[in-house]
Subunit: 407 residues, 2 copies
């Protein structure tokens, strides 16, 4: 499995302080309130879920970014309660928490960016968050320990922190740092649009205007967070926020190749960590779809496979049952000629031109897909469209996690 790297102090972009405290939202009493404070309001870009039901913090966060012209001084994130389907009262509580956060940490209320994750339809106890603000303030810091606490407090059913970092040096010897942190293990099929219960926060010390930042984020998200699925359930709270403090002094525009590459690397690394830590996941699968009539058609095929309970349970059982994959391709809605479809598990050809490959070796295929990470490559034989997509198996443990209900 992909491990969570530790981010050493020297890789953290300057201009940001982090912390997390226990506000009493999670019944377990674990840290559940995570805060980032920028030294000076940072340039900001965000993307949110395309679900038509969206949580109160998304309404408020969108409004704040618009009012502030893309500036964020404080990020407040609570876990344990999604503040979704909570009506006008949910929006009012969110606004109040933002107002009190700006009073505590400085800046304007519209420079506070809120996020929530957890159960839907239960009123958020904003007073608990507000009461925890002074302790959070006394505890802010720039160390990897502080960053790790932030990364830990935003988790829900996740089993581990998800962080990623990249940096590069410019021609004149200046450093640009990018660090990302995210959470998410269930209700994961982010379909983020520019205006996304996965939460991801990426920080950089580059100098970037909000418009360029939004363009860079959109491009990175499309090939990373928008290319993963655990269960096909698109959340009401998904959010990706990218903040640029400018404290590093290097100016970056939307076409900056090294920055784009580093940002894409961080976003993809985080996205894959989410899949690897998905609820009950025992196998991570990279789907590589080729030969589609367009990239969009390739993506449709990838999603049909990634959302097929029969394909996903076969993977859980390390069963090289490629017929289920072929069936999912068949109902994906894409125009295909079954007689031109070929399937490989890694380097093992399984299906050729719609039928069992002459070289199909069931035992070898079984051994290959017994690995915790493997690749399924499909050639539709119809054109030049392609995509990469990351997904996982469906295990009895996923069902146990999501069916557990005690009265």
């Amino acid at each position: 499995m992909i491990s969570s790297p530790h981010i050493p102090d020297f890789l953290l972009p300057s201009g940001f302080q982090f912390t997390a405290v226990s506000a009493g939202i999670k019944p377990s009493g674990k840290p559940d309130f995570a805060i980032v404070v920028a030294d000076e309001a940072a340039s900001a870009a965000a993307m949110f879920t395309s679900n038509r039901v969206t949580a109160a913090p998304l309404t408020v966060g969108r409004e704040h970014l618009r009012s502030s012209g893309g500036r964020v001084k404080v990020v407040v994130v609570n876990a344990g309660n999604a503040n979704c389907a909570t009506g006008e009262a949910g929006v009012a509580v969110c606004r109040e928490v933002c107002a009190r956060a700006s009073a505590t940490f400085g800046g304007e209320t519209m420079e506070v960016f809120p996020s929530s994750t957890g159960i839907i339809g239960v009123p958020l106890p904003g007073d608990k968050l507000i009461a925890a603000l002074p302790l959070a303030k006394s505890d802010l810091g720039r160390t990897s320990g502080h960053f790790d606490r932030f990364a830990h407090a935003i988790l829900t059913t996740d089993t581990r922190r998800k962080v990623s970092a990249r940096h590069f040096t410019t021609a004149d010897g200046q450093q640009v740092k990018i660090v990302g942190v995210c959470k998410g293990a269930g209700m994961i099929h982010p379909q983020l649009v520019p205006h996304a219960t996965m939460l991801a926060y990426i920080f950089t010390d580059a100098v970037i205007a909000p418009e360029a930042l939004q363009a860079l984020l959109g491009e990175a998200v499309e090939s990373s967070f928008n290319r993963i699925s655990i269960d096909g359930d698109t959340s009401t709270n998904d959010t990706v926020l990218l903040l640029a403090s400018g404290a590093g002094g290097v100016t970056v525009d939307a076409t900056h190749a090294e920055f784009r590459e580093a940002l894409y690397a961080v976003a993809t690394d985080l996205a894959k960590q989410i899949v690897a830590d998905g609820e009950g996941v025992t196998h991570v699968i990279e789907l590589q779809i080729e030969g589609a009539t367009s990239d969009a058609e390739a993506l449709k095929v990838a999603k049909a496979i990634a959302h097929s309970p029969l394909v996903k349970t076969a993977w859980a059982g390390t069963d090289p049952n490629w017929g289920r994959i072929l069936a999912a391709i068949g109902y994906s809605g894409v125009h295909i000629d079954p007689d031109r479809v070929s399937i490989w598990f890694g380097e093992h050809e399984i299906c050729r031109n719609g039928g069992r490959s002459a070289s199909f070796d069931e035992a070898a295929a079984h051994t290959y897909i017994s690995q915790p990470e493997f690749r399924v490559r499909i050639d539709l034989g119809a054109g030049h469209g392609s995509c990469r997509f990351w997904t996982c198996d469906l295990t009895a443990e996923y069902v146990r996690i999501n069916a557990s209900y005690s009265t």
Copy 2:
């Protein structure tokens, strides 16, 4: 749960004989080859899966119906092997079995309708089916015992036979009988089109021309088999066949109210039996979607809910977590105003205008959805479109059944 009624002899439409034998396709040695022989070639209508990958028997069956002008003398069904993704060889084997069946039971080869269900991608041992034809012939009969053996032999992961019957008496005292039989427990989300691994066979003794029969079948299937989902996987082999022997002497056209009603009742009863016997199913849920801008939009919402692993696992855990339902509505692709959505579990109002209902009683809701069958009603508050849809929970047992693979 819905029980499998026993069909007494006097409810079986005249003009048909039934049997089933063990041909050795199922590794268990259980009966796996089921045959119907009409006294005279019956008027026939069929619908097949919309999956673009289709099994050899669908290719051959479609061709035979076209050549014969909608006449079927013999139906041959094997379980244990889907004869899908088997290429030209699969089609050739299927043709050979049909040719030998017509030689055995009479009629033309084009009057033989073949079906297969079971694993995809493995060559069908047609010689075993052919070798079993003489025994099958010696064993044909018109009793409910013969019919039950047919119903039993077509099963795969099903745990019980699925049969249904309706009859009515015309104004001048004549009887019309309709009896149906089907199988299917996994890879169930039939999307049948007139030209579906669910197999269903419906027989009547009415006199009906093939064109009228096709119209009647299309109408009945749209509100029954096309309104169920176990796992969202649309099979490569789904087929519904309706045969009219004419032996009862009552002439029926496409607008005959009593026949339409009786046919719809049989089709709906069979469809619901499939859901109730779905792999690992512990709860059957009737979704009633109302207030959509169109019936098609209502259906989209029903399918998003029926295919959400999070909603289905909550049902498995009898968890009245309506937030997951609201999230699924939100990503269904339908234009909704979340603030107008209301949800009931039976008579219990759970969500009103997008938020928790003031009368929400979690314990009562939990008790209600602890029943083996329950209803979820959703009002989108947007128009007059509606639909009914039947689905089920997702249990660890479903995963166990489909992830079991022994090398």
